[in-house]
Symmetry: D2
Subunit: 434 residues, 4 copies
Amino acid sequence: MSEPIWKKTGASAAPTQAVMQFLAGEDVVLDRQLIAYDIQASRAHVAGLAEIGLLQPEEADALRQELTRIGDQLATGERVLDERFEDGHSALETWLTEALGPLGGKVHAGRSRNDQVAVALRLYMKDRLVQLQRVCVAIAEQLLARAQREGDLPMPGYTHLQRAMPSSVGLWLAGHAEAFIDNADLARRTRDWLDASPLGTASGFGVNLPLARDAVAEALGFPRLVLNPQYAQNSRGKIELQAMAALGAATLDARRLAWDLSLFTTSEFAFVDLPDEWCTGSSIMPNKRNPDVVELLRASHGVVAGARAELEAVLSLPSGYQRDLQASKPPLLRAFAGGLQALQLLAPLLDAMSWNQDAMRAAMTPEIYATDLSVELAQQGMPFREAYREVAERIAQMDDQDPRESLEKRVSTGACGDLALARLEARLAPLKEI
Amino acid sequence: MSEPIWKKTGASAAPTQAVMQFLAGEDVVLDRQLIAYDIQASRAHVAGLAEIGLLQPEEADALRQELTRIGDQLATGERVLDERFEDGHSALETWLTEALGPLGGKVHAGRSRNDQVAVALRLYMKDRLVQLQRVCVAIAEQLLARAQREGDLPMPGYTHLQRAMPSSVGLWLAGHAEAFIDNADLARRTRDWLDASPLGTASGFGVNLPLARDAVAEALGFPRLVLNPQYAQNSRGKIELQAMAALGAATLDARRLAWDLSLFTTSEFAFVDLPDEWCTGSSIMPNKRNPDVVELLRASHGVVAGARAELEAVLSLPSGYQRDLQASKPPLLRAFAGGLQALQLLAPLLDAMSWNQDAMRAAMTPEIYATDLSVELAQQGMPFREAYREVAERIAQMDDQDPRESLEKRVSTGACGDLALARLEARLAPLKEI
Amino acid sequence: MSEPIWKKTGASAAPTQAVMQFLAGEDVVLDRQLIAYDIQASRAHVAGLAEIGLLQPEEADALRQELTRIGDQLATGERVLDERFEDGHSALETWLTEALGPLGGKVHAGRSRNDQVAVALRLYMKDRLVQLQRVCVAIAEQLLARAQREGDLPMPGYTHLQRAMPSSVGLWLAGHAEAFIDNADLARRTRDWLDASPLGTASGFGVNLPLARDAVAEALGFPRLVLNPQYAQNSRGKIELQAMAALGAATLDARRLAWDLSLFTTSEFAFVDLPDEWCTGSSIMPNKRNPDVVELLRASHGVVAGARAELEAVLSLPSGYQRDLQASKPPLLRAFAGGLQALQLLAPLLDAMSWNQDAMRAAMTPEIYATDLSVELAQQGMPFREAYREVAERIAQMDDQDPRESLEKRVSTGACGDLALARLEARLAPLKEI
Amino acid sequence: MSEPIWKKTGASAAPTQAVMQFLAGEDVVLDRQLIAYDIQASRAHVAGLAEIGLLQPEEADALRQELTRIGDQLATGERVLDERFEDGHSALETWLTEALGPLGGKVHAGRSRNDQVAVALRLYMKDRLVQLQRVCVAIAEQLLARAQREGDLPMPGYTHLQRAMPSSVGLWLAGHAEAFIDNADLARRTRDWLDASPLGTASGFGVNLPLARDAVAEALGFPRLVLNPQYAQNSRGKIELQAMAALGAATLDARRLAWDLSLFTTSEFAFVDLPDEWCTGSSIMPNKRNPDVVELLRASHGVVAGARAELEAVLSLPSGYQRDLQASKPPLLRAFAGGLQALQLLAPLLDAMSWNQDAMRAAMTPEIYATDLSVELAQQGMPFREAYREVAERIAQMDDQDPRESLEKRVSTGACGDLALARLEARLAPLKEI
């Protein structure tokens, strides 16, 4: 690892190798996911320094060009951010100085690593929340498309995992669609909430320069500033928790959907078939065909919930930057990497699965129509409680029926007789715009 | 406890007392916090039934009057929701039937306990998020008012709990103010996100009636519907988690503020004095004067974080109502009761505390001006890294200075020389409207 | 509420009502669960003071008699610990002084509320861990008794919720039995680990008296001391977390068992019947018979997991007593109350359920014997991988078989052909002793 | 990636690349930490197969030699477990077959990947719990050694972060020592609790072979078996949670110790000096010397708490192996890697720090002796409550004193006048044996 940038001349002793490794953690590896945002912010910062005359136009041009070049090389793999550096910020300063001499060091005027990290993380979270919104929209679209196509297929409806009432594939599909519409909506609201630039707050006290904070923020696409430098540091962790709360809402719903599929692909339910591409076998049982993807989808919420807990555990701190905040990076990056990977498989999985109509029809045994009957009696004027007791006594004598007749009668908004798909589409439409 | 409303005639055996207690949990006690919302929703539901002709106008009037009477009696304590009932919903039906005979039972047409609970909880959460927004606004106002009054007082600024740079009481106050502006904003966005009526989705399948769902929702102040009945159930727990995430953002910031006060009231820092009303003594040490309120404020985030974890733990479920969801109520109500109680003490505490100027001034030892000096050198053209090393070598020889001079030079937006209080006020203003 | 015991004469101002309520929290209500332990420890402390001559024998006798009387009255309800008191410790001192005059105050010599709380909580946890061990033993006994009786019943075995291999009711019962044997074992080990007396450490610094700490500990049934007074405070929360970890292991296994029963009581599996006493109905669907107890058992782990998270969140603190630690009481008491209530229903539920042999036999479709076949081929010398591929190709042609034949061949220790019930009994036996 | 070992001839479609990556996760990388245990268990399994005649002695020898060779090559880096393989178990089988032909496949007789994973994880956890015990012992030894050397140094004692009573460096050191003695003890008890061999339970049903399970377990150092095959799977996650609970007890105490050091190294307290090797600087403030190691130690509990939460989130499952359990590996390995790395720095840090006697003496202001005085009055016969009030009124007039005089009087066991170091050593001694 190269000399740390805070190393003073003649300091008597440097940290040992074990201490340096502990301090660095996985920082430099994690920063591979963040350095592009750091470069983006550095370019804007350089423009801001030029605007207030702290850099000559040609100096600013040289720095910006070199930043672009470094970014391009990192993108192609020509240049690599590796363990020689303490973190991405040190690497950037080293590279700039190698290329441009003392000018390279001027990029650091008016900022600190603290606001560099803060702004890079805000840009990262905005990007990931856009991806989250997009993947939730894609899942909802897939679900609504199937609901349009095959929404009328009868299917037993369950509460307490007990057969409850006749339902339809459409109700199931549209229900999960509405969940992911809410999730896309939450991703957008969360992004709007945290969409503020901390750049120009330095290490929590601002600087002795009339920085062009508003212009720099605008150039980076932030509609407003984190105004207070102390809050730029104090908000670290807090905004990450909200970003992960939005992600967790989606993985929570993915878990519920995966639970349904896990049950529906048992031999006992057998409502859903998954093609071979989505199944695996057992190393010991030749007969097995396992829905592993579904199970790992179900498990995928864990990494998000755990990351939230990990971050919560380090945030009991007084104001101002404390090194503990470095520990907020790994859970954030891990949660979004794991969560988004899982969510991205959901739309293709929903596309690939098929319904087993016979099994669903066979599971619609006569007693499933009992509520229909009691509602009819109530509509004829009998108080509902009385109708309920009346029907309860007749259950064993009920006959099989055509489920479609029952479904058509379920006319309240959103129910099988009126799935309200158009209204769901109408909520989804604006969320397709980022 | 009275007979459960789902009891069928001639059922051979009823649950034992131990089982009934386990099933009921604290439901009926918790429902004291929810029954007013249930009554409000029941009144709207009755109007909706009348609108579709399922109730005669005079029936609807009678039911609505009786609901109002029950609500009033509960509010005054004349009527009490107690352990004789399984839960608030059963109590309501019993009371209506006692007063109105068979007509009382008709209120249940077209709905289920499931959507009754769901709508009452949504109304509850909206109310609590309004309270959260209000208390965050009040805290921010208190902080900004003090910042206006005494923002220029010098105070050492810390990072890593080490003296870092000259700072001001204003920077500290405005920093916490911006935190609570963000928290008020988050409370509002979260309320908007979950502001949808599940009423009319029954037990997750809708009903065989053309319910006036939109009109009922509008009467209850919901701008839109939870359209899909399955999602009305599947969203339980999920929306509670987001409501608690918003609450947790505020208690997290209260914890950070409490940490600051806990340090500032030590004899070693001694920056802040708390009046006797905010302190307690020790049962064994006559000299003690302890900032217990501050410490319990610091602890108050725990109940919110724990409630979120408790709820997370029960939400690994397939679609549709499962009784597990009953376990989502206690953590939600506990989190908001505990979290709001703590937050409500924050504004008066911030009003009561006073600053110890001498102690803060004495803590501003000369080396605190080192960054100022290196920035000056950089402004004179020296590359920042070089200036930094130059100053690092001179530190022991630095003289005391007037901190106000240093603070005036910190002119970047939000820093001590430009606290941007007007811009913070401008963000706060619209949040005062609910 | 009465005057706090740390109130000094002439203090200018007392906390407001809102502050007092915030400080007190639910302490006095929670202390109803703890005051018996406080009385027990107070009696031992009085004896210890007499031993070192700080109390005359007749003083000690009077105090001990009065403590016993108070304890008896609290047990019968003749005396009530209510909101007039700040907490149980204040109440005790007040009551003693009311009855005995100034002598009542002498009970506080050589101790602080801090070690009073600490010792009461250790006694409480020891008791609850005994209850935990007992309930786990009872569950394991029930499971092993059924395994003895009906262990041979064939049942399909599942992995990935897919039919995997022929299995038996005995394998399922013995598997859950071994889980609860481990849980009983963990309860005991955890109790042993925390079985140390903090009494005599006062507020974290010990006292100026040669307290008879060892004798007092012995009288209270502690085999050793928490030696260091600082650690007596620092260990608060930490030991609670371990006690709850032991509880959580049991509720985690209860959740898994409840999941099995939730699936087995669906119409689709239908392996298990629950009698009416363990089921409930729906308020809207006359046909429903819901396994609510099973579902709430499944949810019961939540309160334990949440309590652990709540406690974790308050424990980021420097050494020594901080008032934050008061917040460790509610989650601990809530977790044990909720967790033990749920676990206590498990043995009777396991006693009440019955197996549906026909449904289980019908679910043992021919392909479930595929692994048997490939193992046979391997035993005849074919490399296992080859046998596996061979059988995989023949699956569709496999015939139905008698599952008992297959089960008998499963002879590895613990498998269906050798359930090892005697060895499980042997592990359980010593855990029946407390 | 090579063909999965469960791939059947002629299967129509294989999972896509994205699905395969999702299924594999980081498994093969994580297995680098586990493969040595897999090899160890495989060697014992081979011996067991030979014992029951399923392998000829020369076959067993060949397999064991090859396993040893592979293990050696992995240890030196000559052979690498990389992404070509699905996981470590597949790699092992591939390598054996490459080297030994069809004989290589025979190692899989009588076991499944499920029990391979389970046994490797148990061996891994036992090893890590040994490391945990060792590092806790080393920390306690360091603390006790310093306590022997400099335990008499006076130091103010704090409660509520307020100066409370005269205390000593010895009380602080011994307090943390007792914490780590408890932690070492917990590590050992936890290891004993989970010290059971699941090998020979295959995929949760055992096998059709009279496996020598006891002999194999003994060869691997397990004193007993996980008897029931279903429990061998159901205990996955549960035992990991307990292993992490033991680890978390230690990182929790490390956090508390780090909090103390964080405060003690402020300019305001200034009780502790850290040498340059343990500090870092700021990239912007030339005056800073930051205790980053201390802060990251304080943060290190987060990774353990988060890992527990992550694992909790995936364990809501029915009995038997589900693929979700694969998600239990990453948090376990991450928690032990991060937690042990942090703990290993603690003993050297405690060795390197030094006490600033003058600062501690100066902080012992006169009112700190108030409790001493009230105890004296009580010893002279005044009821304690009265003495307390008397002293409270005199506080402003108290004089400075020699703290050593006060410390000598604190004679209760464990207090400054009797640190009980010999008794702590006596508890530590048996924990040095593994």
